[in-house]
Structures are given as C-alpha cells and as structure tokens.
C-alpha cells in the first residue's frame, strides 16, 4: 500500500500526541509500517503542537514533505491555518470548530475568524466538527481529540474492530467508555 500521510495539529494540552499515537497503533495493528513523530517546544502547555503520522508498506521520513499530506486533523482553527500548506491540493482538512486565543501580548492582530472560509477558498476538502462541544456534552472537554480521531477514522481504510481494540488497549479503563462514545460521535460526524 502506498504511504498515507496524516498531520495532527493543535494546542499543547489538547491531546494531539495521544490522538496521533492511537492512529499509529491502529495502523500497526492493521499490518502497516508506521512512523509517528511530534514537534513541540519547551513548555508543557499552551504552545502549538503538531504530529506527523505516516503508514503504508514502507515509511522512510518521519515527516511528510510539504504539500503531500492527505489528511490534516486540526484540533483548533488557527492551527488548521498554520499547517494548511502541508496538505496536498484538494486534500482533506478536518477542523474542530474551536478557538483558543494565543496570549494577547504576542501579536496584537485579531484572531482570524475566517479560517475555514480561507481554507475552502484554497480548494481543500474542509470538514468542520464541533468536537469540543460534543466532548463537553459527553462530560469532559479533553475527549475532543477522540471525537476528531473518530471523524478521521471514517475516512481511513482501517477496520472497525482494529480501532475498538486499539482504544481498549491504550486508554485507561476509567476513561475508556467516555472515549468510546467520543470516537463513535466523531465517526457519525465524519460520514
């Protein structure tokens, strides 16, 4: 199988790394070669975080070259804009309808409210999901990453039972039911 390239982006604390790890684990379980690597700076929280996940018969570089990503999974709208250029022409961008303002002293310009319109105008296949709202309804805003992952899973060729098993093996038991629900909700929205 040729290599499938996914880029997961968000803000520190949004679960970018866990979502990518789950995807990488599911891809291995489905029999692929996988590489996954995240990029983040010094702080534990608040900065931009992104992670490449690549799977297929044989993966070399842990980073997908710019303009070759098939799926961008953005946990936040500004981050979708920041990494949009990694996506190939006509590629898919799934965006969480959620805004996290950067600290105001960094740059005085207002938050770009038209992020989704802009990405649409570039010819990408943009899908929006209110993942944080859904996660809050399910009882924990932190499950937004799993909602987004569910939406992505709907578009990937990894069997349902592999996803079920991956969630079961990787998510701690006390959070498993919440994440199962979040994943299911995401799948429905991703259709």
């Amino acid at each position: 199988m040729p290599v499938t390239n996914v880029l997961v982006a968000g803000v520190g604390g949004q679960g970018v790394v866990l979502a990518s790890e789950l995807l990488a684990l599911a891809a291995i379980a489905a029999g692929h070669d996988v590489k996954q690597g995240e990029f983040h700076g010094v702080a534990q929280r608040g900065g931009a975080v992104f992670s490449h996940v690549r799977f297929g018969d044989r993966v070399y570089s842990p980073m997908t070259p710019r303009g070759q990503v098939e799926f961008l999974l953005a946990m936040e709208k500004l981050e979708a804009l920041r990494y949009g250029h990694f996506v190939k022409p006509g590629g898919t961008i799934l965006v969480n309808e959620h805004e996290v303002e950067p600290i105001r002293t960094a740059d005085e310009r207002p938050y770009p409210k038209d992020a989704v319109d802009f990405l649409n105008s570039k010819g990408f296949d943009v899908g929006t999901i209110k993942a944080t709202d859904i996660a809050v309804e399910l009882g924990n805003h932190r499950a937004a990453n799993t909602v987004m992952l569910g939406a992505l899973a709907e578009r990937l060729d990894i069997p349902h039972e592999v996803w079920d098993k991956t969630l079961e093996e990787r998510i701690p038991e006390r959070l498993l039911e919440l994440n199962r629900k979040a994943f299911r909700e995401g799948r429905q929205r991703g259709q």
Partner: protein
C-alpha cells in the same frame, strides 16, 4: 514481537536486552525518556544523578567494576561530563560502557545547537548513530559488544527527531551479561606517568577501530539505479530515501572513525557524491581529510537548524515546496506560556515590576524573558545564573538577582553560591523550589524525597544547606503571596552580603497537586473596566472574549495573580461572588 516505540524507548529496550545492570543520567530534552524507560525494568538499577559529570563518574565506576552500564544526557550534558569523557578512554573500560548523547538541531528545547559528533573525535572513541527506532535497538546491542571488544567507551548519538519519532520495533529478550571482575592494575587508571604509556596505546586502539569500521555491517550501501551517489547517516538518511528512493546511498552507522577505504571506493564510482548530514559538515570534513573531494555537502544542506524532507529534496534535486499562508491570512504566533497556577508567575511579575537586573537559568521560568513577563535578562546554561549575577555585581551593577530552579540549583548552582559566599558578593539568589524537574516532565531529584525507581529518599533541606555554606540571609516565601514575595526580594537586596529567597510552591502539574481542590476565579463584567491589566499574567486560563476577559473555570488554578493585578477588584473567587449576590 512488533511494538510501536520511540527512538528513546527503543534505545532503552536495546540496553535492557544487552544486559545493562546500571544506568545513570540527568534529565534533558530530548534524552530524558531513555533513562525513564530503563528504570521500568526490574533488572536495571537506574538513577537520576545530580548532574551529568556525576552520572558519568558513577557509570565509569560501575563499568570498571564489571557491570554493563549506560549513561544518558543531552548534548549540553556532555559538556558538563566532558572531563571524564575525555580521560576515561585512556584507561579503557572493563564491562560495556555506552554514553547516550542526544543532540537538538533546531533548538526545540535548548540554548544552543551543538554537533556532539566532534566530541567522539577529540576523545578518540567510536561513535554510532542509528537512522530510526528499529535500528536504534539493534545498534545499542552492537555498541555494548564493541565496547567490550575494544575495551572502550562507545558514544551513541541521537537527535530530537530520532529520539521522539515512534516506529515499528521488533523486540527481543534480555541476555544477562556476566559480571567481569575488576583487576587493580594501577598503571591503567592513574597518574600522568602511566597515562603517557597509555597515550600511544589509545592511538593503536583507534587504528584498530578504523579497520573495524571497514568491515562494520552498520556501514552499508543501498545499491540503487542511475548515476546519483549519496553518503548519509541518521535521520537525514530517511529524508534522502524519501526524496530519491532509487539513488545509491552509503548509509553510515559508525560516524567515527569512518571507513576510509570504502568511502574512497564508493566515491570513485560517481562523478559527484552528495553528503547529506544534519548540523555541521563532520562527515564531509573527514572525507576531505581522506582526499575525497568530489563532494557536494554543506553548500546545499544548511548547517543551521534541523533538516527536513523538503530541505533535503531541495538540495538534492532543486525541488521546491509550498510555503505557508502567512502572506495571505493572519497566522498568529502561539508562543509557549507558563501554565495556569504556575508558581513562577508571581516571582516573575514581581521582578518585572521592581525592574532589577535578573540573570536567569534553565527551566520553565526561562520563559520569563518573554512578554508578558519580561523579567529575565540573561540565560545561558545550567547553573549559570548565580555566577553571572556575581559577575554583573563585580562590573558595578548595584542590585542583581540570580533566578534558579531547585533541580538546576542542585545540578550546578551550588558551587556558584559557595563562591559568592566565599567572596562575599551582595547578590540575591531566588531559588524557585517547585519540588520537581518541571520542564523535562517531572523527574525526581535529590530535593524531592523520591528516586527514579519511586523509592523514598532523604530530601535536601535547602534552608539548612544554604545556611551551612555561610549564607546569613535566608527567607522562605510562598510565591502566590505577592506582597511577601516583594518584601523578601527587597530585603534580600538590601542585605550587605549574599542573600537567598526560597520561593516554595509545588508545580501545578504534579499529579498530587492537580488532585487537590481548587477554587477558581471569575470576572464580574459589570465591574470590569477592560483595562487588560489582568492579561499581563499571560495565563492560558484567561481569554479575551468579545470586549472582556473571561476565566475558563476548568483551567483556572485559583492562584489569584490576575485578581492581584485588577485595579477595580472585578476578579474574585467563584464562590465568593455567589455569596455576595445573595
């Protein structure tokens, strides 16, 4: 069995499989997880040491004593451990000794870019470097064999990308290595007169290693098609395969010493050969010294920052790649910030307000040099703050504060404080005691009362220690108490000799602190005058919604730093405001 493992996990796994008995190091991104993972194996006695030199010395003892040993550090840690690193090869090791050194091209969490490969050449030790996690596990095992075969320490280098990339790793079982008895041959381990005999022997050993490099199976040519030849190593090798899957690539697993004859033969096959390496042109320079000059290297592949598949493709075939959308839309920067409830915030805002000169150190609080805190004026390396403060005072600055975290203080701040006491320098040191090594992800240290293996340990009593070295003015405050913080710093600066303020509050992200109940704050929109003073906290829990600030209740730690800055008392505790409305 196949597993998803990061480079660091794979290195730890390989070390465990090699029969490692003792491992030591000091946390430093991107190396930290190697020792953390090693500590999870029952057979391995793994520990955090106070600093990298101490860890290295301990590991030298363990390896001479006959136990297979690994020492771990980031690139700047090797600078701290450079003394034993350069001397140990003269003696040579008894049991296998591998020094894991992780470089950070791109400076994701470092103050400098340093190509540590040069250290191997200076120390005359073999250097191995894998190209992914799968290879890392296998190569660590080879490193231990090599170390015992040649009785030499082996340097094992990774980079941030290799350490932090997960991949598919085939794992194996542990093979116990038998303990090798130590022979007390003083002529091998002591004083210059003996070292002079050892010196030519070291050169002989290096020559034997050069011969070994010619045969080493980790130096391998991927035969391709066409007339493009490439020499590469480490993560850049993967970028080369990505850009030119059919090129003929000489993949080097042993970076020092290099296989001279094989490289000469390889390069004779091509009109020109690309040498693709990250950071400096180390391989290119070595090849030039072998007389290989038909090379395209650093003029195409920058020595600044981290390489990428895009940069490598550009250098190999001139490919151009898309740029970001910053020129067409607003892409606001998202700089890292201190967490909600961070115990450093109060100290930084107080220092900013006081306007004193502050020399900083290495930790989360390093962010204090950025807006909105703007409190720190210099940051160099581990433990530098106190010495730098002394220097500024000697140059005539009247009031200088050195700012240092607890783990960093124990790492290398203490000798500087002793020097300041000895020379009676009137600086004030603020010891930010948050009870952990925060920035690298909560590692234990000698002040935390617990070890890497989660065993209880005596905790350093900072007050007693600092008084014992002769500091007369020592005060402990809670940095959430802004008035007390300001008072203590002022009083420290007025003291005629060296003073220490210990700002003690546990890191907000420690699990035991997270579990404690917190009373969040909220903004009363009716009282708020939209002055934005509260936003100066740079707190992620505080966001600007429409025309007013809003506090995300689930994120608020209840530290009240924002309430302290509010000129009209519009910010109060959630419960308190409910009470007031009744």
């Amino acid at each position: 069995m196949k597993r998803l493992m990061s480079g660091n996990e794979a290195i730890a796994r390989g070390a465990w499989e090699s029969g490692v008995l003792f491992a030591a190091g000091y946390p430093g991104t991107p190396s930290t997880e190697v020792l953390e993972v090693l500590s999870t194996y029952d057979e391995v006695d793994a520990q955090w040491s106070t600093n990298e030199k101490v860890a290295f010395d301990e590991c030298v003892g363990a390896a001479l004593g006959g136990a297979r040993t690994m020492v771990t550090m980031k690139h700047v840690g090797l600078n701290v451990a450079a003394d034993p690193f350069m001397v140990f090869p003269y003696a040579g090791t008894n049991a296998g000794f591998v020094a894991l050194v992780a470089d950070d091209p791109g400076m994701y969490s470092s103050q400098n870019e340093q190509d540590s490969r040069y250290f191997a050449k200076i120390a005359k030790v073999p250097l191995l470097e894998p190209t992914d996690a799968r290879e890392a596990r296998e190569m660590v095992k080879i490193a231990f064999e090599l170390s015992e075969q040649f009785e030499t320490p082996v340097m094992f280098r990774t980079t941030t990308r290799l350490s932090h990339t997960r991949g598919v790793v085939e794992v194996g079982d542990r093979t116990e290595a038998s303990r090798r008895p130590f022979s007390r041959k003083v002529s091998q381990y002591a004083i210059p007169v003996y070292a002079r005999f050892r010196r030519p022997e070291l050169e002989d050993k290096l020559n034997r290693l050069r011969e070994f490099a010619e045969e080493f199976e980790g130096n391998i040519v991927d035969e391709g098609q066409g007339d493009v030849g490439v020499v590469s190593h480490g993560i850049p090798y993967q970028y080369v395969k990505e850009a030119l899957p059919s090129a003929t690539v000489f993949k080097l697993g042993m970076i020092y010493p290099l296989p001279k004859k094989r490289l000469q033969e390889f390069c004779e096959r091509f009109e020109q050969v690309f040498v693709v390496e990250e950071s400096e042109g180390f391989i290119e320079q070595e090849m030039a010294s072998f007389g290989i000059l038909n090379v395209i290297g650093k003029e195409r592949f920058t020595n600044i920052g981290e390489l990428s598949p895009d940069l490598v493709a550009q250098g190999l075939n001139g490919a151009s790649t898309p740029t970001d959308f910053a020129s067409e839309t607003t892409i606001l920067p998202r700089p890292p910030v201190l967490c909600p409830g961070c115990s450093h915030r109060g100290v930084l805002s107080t220092l900013n307000e006081m306007g004193v000169l502050v020399t900083g150190d290495i930790g989360c609080y390093t962010l204090g040099c950025l807006p909105p805190y703007k409190a720190i004026h210099t940051t160099f390396c581990m433990g530098a703050s106190i010495g730098n403060a002394t220097g500024f005072t000697k140059a005539g600055e009247a009031k200088v504060v050195g700012l240092i975290g607890d783990s960093t203080f124990l790492h290398s701040g203490l000798p500087s404080l002793i020097s300041a006491v000895y020379n009676q320098v009137p600086t004030t040191t603020i010891l930010l005691d948050n009870g952990t090594t925060g920035m690298t992800g909560h590692q234990q240290h000698p002040g935390t009362g617990s070890t890497l293996k989660h065993r209880p340990a005596p905790a350093v009593n900072y007050e007693a220690l600092i008084k014992a070295i002769g500091v007369e003015h020592v005060e402990v405050i809670d940095p959430w108490d802004i008035e007390a913080t300001e008072r203590a710093i002022k009083s420290g600066l007025e003291h005629p000799g060296p003073a220490v303020v210990i700002a003690r509050r546990a890191c907000r992200l420690l699990p035991e602190v997270k579990a404690t109940e917190k009373v969040p704050y909220q903004v009363d929109d009716a009282v708020c005058i939209q002055c934005e003073d509260c936003m100066q906290t740079g707190c992620p829990a505080l966001v600007w919604e429409g025309d007013t600030p809003e506090i995300r209740e689930w994120d608020c730690a209840g530290c009240a730093m924002c309430a302290h800055l509010c000129p009209v008392d519009a910010i109060c505790q959630v419960e308190a405001s409910v009470d007031a409305s009744h």
